[in-house]
Amino acid sequence: MPTATAGKEVTYLEAISQALDEEMTRDERVFLMGEDIGTYGGAFKITEGFLDKYGEWRVLDTPLAESGFVGAGIGAAMMGMRPVVEMQFADFISCAFDQITEVAGTAYYRFRSQVPLVIRAPYGGGVHGGPFHSECPEGWFFHSPGLKIVVPATAYDAKGLLKAAIRDPNPVIYFEHKFLYRRIKEVLPVEDYTVPLGVAAVRREGTDISVITYGAMVYVALEAAEQLAKEGIDLEVVDLRSLIPLDKQTVFASVRKTSKAIVLHEDNKTGGVGAEIAALLAEECFDSLDGPIVRIAAPDTPIPFSAPLEEFYIPKTSDVVAAARKLAAY
């Protein structure tokens, strides 16, 4: 299992692994549950070596029953434990929908029971996973009260947000993007750190158009910004990092500065996170806007498998470039 080492570059995937390891060492209430996380070390090997280090009760292989083990995570959390349950793929979170939205999301409101539960959900496309290994299901939970949602885009955030999620007294769904697992890396601090939930980051400062995005789309926005810079169009890229709590102030400040906004996400368009952000901008930043709010998102279809179809489906740099050119000329 990867441990924090000074000066060494750490992948997004290793950062997640480090966060789990360090939190389990720091707090004996933290334990893991999920399918194939013990002996096998997880479908993506994030918990490789954990079984030997922490034993089968803290790295608990569960039956194939997402509703059952998420419910069990809720019960353990109510009793003061800090469970981190793993969806093998975020797609399977639909099996646990009821436990998450109806039980975990309402418990504190109903009878003041804290539910310090983290649900790790490897999500997103670009890996030829087809309709059931590529989904971005954050929109379902974004609409559901009582849940926090984080969507790290960098290795630093992957570690810091997971630690903060584990220490939070509320249910947190931690969407980790599969496409980023081994594609990005950076040197992380050796000392313990967290990234607070609900604080966005401006990844690139710009003056012309704000691109509000998260997850793997942060890189699509940054690539588009590089291309457009050559044409004299200066994009600002806001990485939300958390969807709930949503850092409205950072988003509004950016749009008030640039006067134009593109909301970009990989999830499909209708009723998605982007729709809410566009509505918020219309309500709160109308006087600052100097052009229509533009949404770039996947089409309202299941996620197709074959390479040309998937490439068509997932928003890409050229989509952002085209939309930004049009908006800049507005």
Partner: protein, 331 residues
């Protein structure tokens, strides 16, 4: 339950206390039903009429630090865990003094300080949650047990099966009760499952199961006690099917015309209060005068509770916005 076993296994004072709680549950829920008919209750009323012995029986077998994850026909267990009739009325009247401060209604009670995991209307959802609470106890090596309950209908849900399976695989200290009251809303058992006894479901999970007379508080108590002892000893979960009859509709708005009258007449003879009184009389623990005294006491407690709830304030509209998220507790 044969008298010799009851005499040997249950102290007279304990049995009298169970009788008191069966009586208190009936008195309380009858009063709530009466208020409902007068239009004085907010929303629906779900009673455990005719089934009071089940939750009184299992809750009487628990230790103070144990936990329950009930469903909507467990009023006796709420009372035994320390929820007062006043709080129950406050909950039904949407008052601020109810355990959910008006955020949820009727029997959707919960209070972890008193070892009660609140339930949601989605039946069987509390079974995985109960399993997880039991897992926490096992992980911390605590000698605590969880008892959870659902109806016959609830056993059709996936969560029921996922919970029993997981609990059995990991030998968790949890007891699964099933209140088999013959009807899930209007659906009779024969359209709910192809098996005759719900307890057969336990076999699939290599879990010991037993059928108990759900109208006999002594029998329920002893079955629960055995199962709880097993769980506490680390021997894993038990499934208990308590056979009973729902004597009212699913909710008080439901006249339950789909239930044959003869069936209700037959079960009326097996009323849990009558049954408890027979046992107490035959064992010489109590007589008619004592029963009247208990009834009076229950009535007084219920009326005092109603007065408390009626005097309690309603929540203010903007309180809607409070308490969606818990605050940081140990950052």
């Amino acid at each position: 339950m044969d008298l010799a076993t009851v005499a040997k296994e249950i102290k007279p004072a304990d049995l009298l206390q169970m009788y008191y709680y069966v009586r208190l549950t009936r008195t309380l829920e009858d009063r709530i039903t009466a208020l409902y008919r007068q239009g004085r209750i907010m929303g629906g009323v779900y009673t455990s009429n005719g089934m009071e012995a089940i939750s009184v029986g299992y809750a009487s077998a628990l230790e103070r630090d144990d936990v329950i994850a009930p469903y909507h026909r467990d009023m006796g267990a709420f009372l035994l865990r320390g929820i007062t009739p006043g709080e129950v009325f406050a909950q039904y009247l949407g008052k601020k003094t109810g355990p959910t401060r008006g955020k949820d209604g009727n029997v959707h009670l919960g209070d972890l300080k008193r070892g009660i995991i609140g339930f949601v209307s989605h039946l069987a959802d509390n079974l995985p949650v109960a399993t997880g609470a039991a897992l926490a106890f096992k992980l911390r090596d605590e000698s605590r047990v969880v008892v959870t309950n659902t109806g016959d209908g609830g056993t059709s849900r996936g969560d029921f099966h996922e919970a029993l399976n997981f609990a059995s695989v990991r030998k968790l200290p949890v007891v699964f009760f099933c209140n088999n009251n013959q009807y899930a809303y209007s659906t009779p058992l024969r359209y709910q499952m192809a098996i005759r006894d719900v307890v057969e479901r336990a076999k699939a999970y290599a879990m010991p199961g037993e059928i108990v007379d759900g109208n006999d508080v002594a029998a329920v108590y002893l079955a629960a006690k055995r199962a709880i002892a097993r769980a506490r000893a680390g021997e894993g979960p038990t499934f208990i099917e308590a056979k009973t009859m729902r004597m009212h509709g699913h909710s008080e708005h439901d006249a339950a015309k789909y239930v044959p009258r003869e069936l209700l007449e037959e079960w009326k003879k097996k009323d849990p209060i009558l049954k408890a009184e027979q046992i107490l009389t035959q064992l010489g623990y109590a007589d008619e005068a004592k029963f009247r005294e208990v009834q009076e006491r229950a009535k007084k407690e219920v009326e005092a509770g109603l007065a408390f709830a009626e005097q309690s304030p309603l929540p203010e509209g903007p309180e809607t916005l409070e308490g969606v998220f818990a605050e940081e507790r140990d950052l």
